[in-house]
Structure formats: C-alpha cells, structure tokens
C-alpha cells in the first residue's frame, strides 16, 4: 500500500528548507541588484547552510540508532526514500563541504569580479541533489539526485565563462558525465527488465535467491550486464582509475573554490550512493565485487600518486591526489564488504570528515595566493612563501602533511582507521599498498613545502586575504591540528552511521 510516513514534513525538513533557501538565491540572481546585495548574499548563504545543518543535526539527535525510517513507501510496500543515521551523516558532510567552500570563495569572486546570485543558488541546488543521493533507496530516486547534483556542478565548473580552460574542463566533465549517466540508466533498464523492480531491497532479495539456487552462474546475462554498467558509472562519479580522466582538467579549469567544492562534496555524496547500492542492493554479489573493486582501488592508489608526482600545477597535483584519496576510501568500502560490518563504513565517514578540512584547506591557500594577475596555482608561485607570508606557508604545510597522513595531523587518523579496517577484514595487500602509496605521496606534498621554505622567491607585492578566508584558514588548521584530541568523540558519532 502506498503511504507517506506520518511525520514526513519533520523528516524532510532539511531538504524543504534547503529548497526554499536556494529559491531565495534564484530570486536574488534575477534581481537587477547592485553589487552589495550579491556580496551580502554570501553571508546569507552561509547562514542558510548553517540552518540546514542545524535541522540535520536535530534530526540526527532525535532519531533512534540503527533504524531506517522509510518516508515514502510504494504501492508494493518498498521504501523509496530512507532517513537513517547513515544518510544524515553524509548530509552533514556534504553541507560542511559546501559551507567551507563558500567560506573561502569571497576573495576569488572579488578577483574575478564574478559576483552573481547563481553561484550560491547552484551550490545550494547541488547540495540538495547530494542530500537526495544520500537518502534515496531506489535506483530512480538516486539517479534524479545524482543528475541534480551533476548538472549544477557542470555549470559551476564553467562558472568563469570567459576563460577558455574553464569552459574546456567543464565541457570534458559534462560529456563524460553525460556518458556515465547514460550508462547508469542503460544498466538500470536491464536490471529492471530482469527483476522488474528498481528497489534495492527487492534487488538484494532476488540476487540472494538466484545465488542460493545455483551460485553466481545462475545470474541471468541481462542482469549481470546491467549491474556491470551500474557499478562502472558509480566508480566514474567518484573518479576511480580507470574512469578518472575528467578529473584533472575539470579541477584545473574550474575556479578554485568550486574545485574545492567539487573535490569534497560530490565525493561524499558519491560514496553515500555507492554504499547504499552496494550494501543494500548488491551485497549478495560480494564474491565477485571484492576482487573487481580491489583491482580498481589498487590501480587508483598507485596511479593517482604516481601521476600526482609528475604535475607542475598545484591544482592538477591536488586533483590527482584526490583521485588517490578516493582509492583509500574505496578500500574502506571493500573492507566493509568483506567483513560485513560497519567498521569500514565508519572509517570512510571519518576519512571524508577529515578530508573536507585538509583538502579545502589546501585549495584555500591557493586562493589566497591568487592576485596581481597570477593564478597562484603553479609550483613556482609557492617559492619563498615563508618569507612573504609566514603563516600562510605554515598553514599550507599543515594541510599537506595532513593530506600525506603524517601523525599527529588529522589525515593520519583517517588513514589509520581505514588501515585498521583493512587489517581486521584480512585485506593485507590493500593495507600494504595503502601504506606504501601514502609514503610515496609525501614526496610530492613535500615538493611544495620545500618550495615554500627552502627556496628564495622573487619579491612580490603583498597579498590580502580578507576576513572570511582568514577565518576559514584558521578553523581548518585548528581542526587539522587538534582533531586527534577528540578522536573518540567523532569516531563514536561516525559509528552511528550504520548501514547493516
């Protein structure tokens, strides 16, 4: 019987609120307002995201643990929208990522003279799409959320419309993204043809039934074909090697705050969707999924780190390093698949939380370096930074060491938990490769540190950051430094995001 949850308005408050907020920005974008209105809307958007975050946290606190509340059930009685702590945690991560990306975007928008209302509206719309991705429970809802997110981000990637590299990167991203969306839909149509359902629960039941009857061989060809397409399109969205080709160009071309946003929030949402599909829908297939995913995760970690070494542009380097980080997180997912416990998921959630602070931090230093007609993203732009701006150099060092996974910074904790989950589920090969590639990654992070401290730079005019960027840098540095003191607290929160 078709039904709505009696308190659906309460359960969907964050989404409804965010929709209203983004409509406000759309109206602001339509007004022929002066620049001050647009500049003020930055503060307004930060406030809106804080409100949404508040709603999510309030729901999170009031919800019982380990319960998956179905907000909408279809006529056949399947959930099509789930609110649980898993989805709420991912929603928090996505909102945090958006919040910090907006916090660091003031200077960039000033430099490029690109204050528009659409910037804020599109970021809020894409966050709305990601929230749908986090709580969808059927393949159609997930796809609509994915497309809402992706369309907003394609436009954001081309935000500086007059810059050729920006449009080029966005176009590459768009074409490959459209291809992967098409693959997703094609796969889903085969899955629907074979199982006559798009609900993950039903898919799981039927897969389980087929496998108990005759093993893996018993899965009919169309279903297998559809599942392959589905998994490939998911891996594409989180930029796993060999589906990563769009990443460096899109990241380099986009304006830096958007790059920071693209590297954290869609990744979190992509992992939310991947986790939901794998652990609710495809878990009976773990026998084949694990070797396949292991291969891609290994390739991702190795190639992401090696390619990052060869880059001469800091944004491209961070793009490849974000590919490598996606590989680390994917290993966490594999650990959870193998052990069938929440440990891997908790590690991934923790990693994503830490990743927001270190990655947006590194990008915000690049934003701070921009000015006087220079992009600030070449390796040479970092030379002698310690002489010019000592605290910027120190902050950048913290972020990079954190990304490299050196104790006692926050990044180390993220890697540590993933490593532990891998060891507990006896995936020693992945654990070893994770450790080795982390060591390799320190080499290219250290190159920037070396440039900043040891080399003599040319004299350059002073850079000004502005209040918001400064406060964002300070917040992120503090989190990176002192997170280790609150590890237990945050870990116990992340542990609540259970999917099993």
């Amino acid at each position: 019987m078709f039904s709505l949850h009696p308190s659906w308005t309460h359960l969907l408050t964050p989404e409804i609120a965010l929709l209203c907020f983004s409509i406000i920005f759309l109206v602001i974008a339509g007004l022929k307002g002066d620049k001050n209105l647009r500049k003020g809307s930055l503060y307004l958007s930060l406030l809106c995201l804080l409100f949404t975050l508040f709603f999510v946290i309030q729901l999170f606190v009031s919800l019982p643990d380990k319960e998956h509340i179905s907000v909408i059930s279809t006529s056949a009685g399947n959930a099509s929208l789930l609110i649980d702590k898993y989805s709420l945690l991912f929603k928090m991560l996505v909102i945090l990522g958006g919040f910090f990306s907006l916090l660091v975007s003031q200077k960039e928008l000033d430099e490029e003279n690109a204050w528009t209302g659409e910037y804020f509206a599109l970021i809020l719309f894409s966050i709305l799409g990601m929230m749908v991705m986090a709580s969808g429970a059927d393949l159609l809802t997930l796809w609509v959320g994915l497309e809402t997110m992706a369309l907003s981000i394609y436009v954001l990637a081309a935000y500086l419309r007059r810059k050729e590299s920006s449009v080029e990167g966005a176009l590459k991203y768009f074409i490959l993204g459209a291809l992967s969306s098409g693959m997703y839909l094609y796969g889903v149509s085969f899955i629907y043809g074979a199982t006559s359902s798009i609900h993950l629960k039903v898919l799981r039941a039927q897969l389980g039934m087929m496998i108990t009857r005759g093993g893996i061989e018993n899965i009919p060809f169309p279903l297998a074909f559809g599942l392959v397409l589905l998994v490939v399109s998911l891996l594409f969205k989180i930029a796993i090697v060999p589906f990563h080709f769009w990443t460096p160009d899109a990241y380099e071309g986009a304006t830096t705050p958007v790059t920071a946003f693209m590297s954290v929030a869609p990744k979190a949402a992509g992992f939310a969707m991947l986790g939901r599909i794998f652990f609710v829908g495809l878990i009976p297939l773990y026998d084949i999924l694990i070797p396949l995913l292991m291969l891609t995760a290994l390739l991702t970690m190795v190639w992401g780190n090696i390619a990052a070494m060869l880059q001469s542009n800091a944004k491209r380097m961070l793009a490849y390093s974000s590919i490598a980080h996606a590989g680390y997180m994917l290993s966490g997912v594999i650990a959870a698949l193998k052990a069938k416990t929440d440990e891997g998921i908790t590690a991934v959630l923790f990693y994503l939380f830490v990743y927001i602070f270190m990655n947006v931090g590194a990008f915000s230093v690049i934003i701070a370096l921009k000015g006087n007609g220079e992009e600030g993203d070449r390796m040479e732009d970092f030379t002698g930074l310690f002489k010019r701006k000592p605290y910027l150099a120190i902050f950048m060092t913290f972020f990079l060491l954190s990304l490299g996974g050196i104790p006692p910074f926050a990044g180390f904790l993220g890697k540590f938990f993933i490593f532990m989950s891998l060891v507990h589920s006896e995936l020693y090969l992945l654990a070893a490769v994770l450790a080795i590639t982390s060591v390799i990654s320190i080499y290219y992070y250290y190159r920037i540190v070396c440039n900043m401290f040891l080399k003599e730079g040319v004299e350059k005019p002073q850079i000004r950051e502005g209040f918001l960027l400064k406060s964002a840098l300070i917040i992120m540095t503090v989190v990176n430094l002192f997170l280790i003191l609150f590890t237990n607290r945050i870990f116990s929160i992340m542990e609540k995001g259970s999917i099993f």
């Binding site: 099509s80 659409e118 799409g129 749908v132 006559s196 609900h199 039927q206 087929m210 018993n218 169309p222």
Partner: protein
C-alpha cells in the same frame, strides 16, 4: 504483428546507418528524424503508448530542432573537405560486430523477467480476460500505469525532477547570456 516488428526494425537500422553515412548534415538529421518516428511506432507495437508519445514530443520534436539548429549554427563549408571515415573505422566496425554478436546472442537467449523472479511491482503485461473485454478507455493502459507510478509511488523523484529542470534552465541561461 511479428511482421510489423521486423519491418519497423529493419527500417530503423537502415535509417540509423543513413544518419552516419550521408554526407550532408541536414540529410543525416532528416534520416534521424525518420528513425525517431519509426522508433515511436516500435514502442506502440509493444503497447508502450506513453513512451511513444515521449518519443514523438521530445525526440522528434525537441531534440531534432536542436540538431538542425546545431547544424545551422556551424559553418557547413568544412563538410565538403572532410573525410567521413579513417583507418580506425574498420577496426571499430570489427569490434562493434563482435560485441554486437556476443551481446545480441546472449540477450536474445535470456528471459524477461529472469525465470527465478516473481513480479512484484506494477505489471503491465498481465491482463485478465475481463479487462480485455472492456472498452479501451476503461482498461488499465500504459499511460495510466505510468501516471499512477509517477504521481503516487515516485512522488519524490517527480518533485526533485522539477528542481532538476529548474537547474537546467538556470544553467543554460547563465552560460548562454552575454551579461549576467
């Protein structure tokens, strides 16, 4: 019926090949239009009336205009000097034939839905005898099942789809306008 299906399929394949092999872009676009319309007939043959309507409205109506305008936006002088194929085409043709043969064979010999599966969701194919005697407008038809699915079961994706379309409008206007 099977005669119709085969005839329509052969025509679709023929016009699709025309799309890639004709020299002038406008002729290709018109072949594509015919292929789209034939595809609509194909959907009708299998009782998917709503999808057929979509095919005519969106593809034959909207997408075709987009293609034609796309051709008209670009300079057509280069067409006369460009070759349509190059050496890789033969390799590609070979690979396509191999893949097509394999997948076609596999897909042709599989059942829909898979034999182990019970139908759980809306069933369009199963129709009782009493229903078949009803006048057409009172039967459980394809557009009606689509509507029920869209307005009841999939209300949430339906609402989010409006957000998706709004984002598309904003993005398109934002990127195309001269001044913001």
């Amino acid at each position: 019926m099977i005669v119709f299906v085969v005839l329509v399929s052969v025509l679709i394949v023929f016009f699709s090949i025309m799309v890639v092999s004709l020299k002038h872009p406008i002729s290709s676009a018109v072949s594509l239009l015919i292929a789209f319309l034939l595809l609509a007939i194909f959907y009708l043959l299998y009782g998917a009336e709503f999808v057929a309507a979509v095919q005519v409205l969106i593809y034959a109506g909207g997408i075709m205009v987009l293609y034609l305008m796309g051709v008209m936006f670009t300079d057509s002088e280069w067409i006369k000097i460009t070759r349509q194929t190059h050496l890789q085409a033969w390799l590609a043709l070979f690979l396509v034939l191999v893949f097509f043969g394999y997948f076609g064979h596999k897909l042709y010999h599989s059942q829909y839905p898979a034999p182990a599966v019970k139908r759980t969701e809306i069933s369009i194919a199963k129709k009782s005898e009493t229903e078949k005697k009803l006048p057409y407008l009172q039967r459980e038809t394809n557009p009606r099942s689509v509507s029920v699915a869209l307005f009841k079961d999939y209300i949430y994706p339906f609402e989010i789809a409006s957000v998706l379309l709004t984002v598309a409008v904003v993005g398109g206007v934002f990127l195309a306008k001269k001044e913001v």
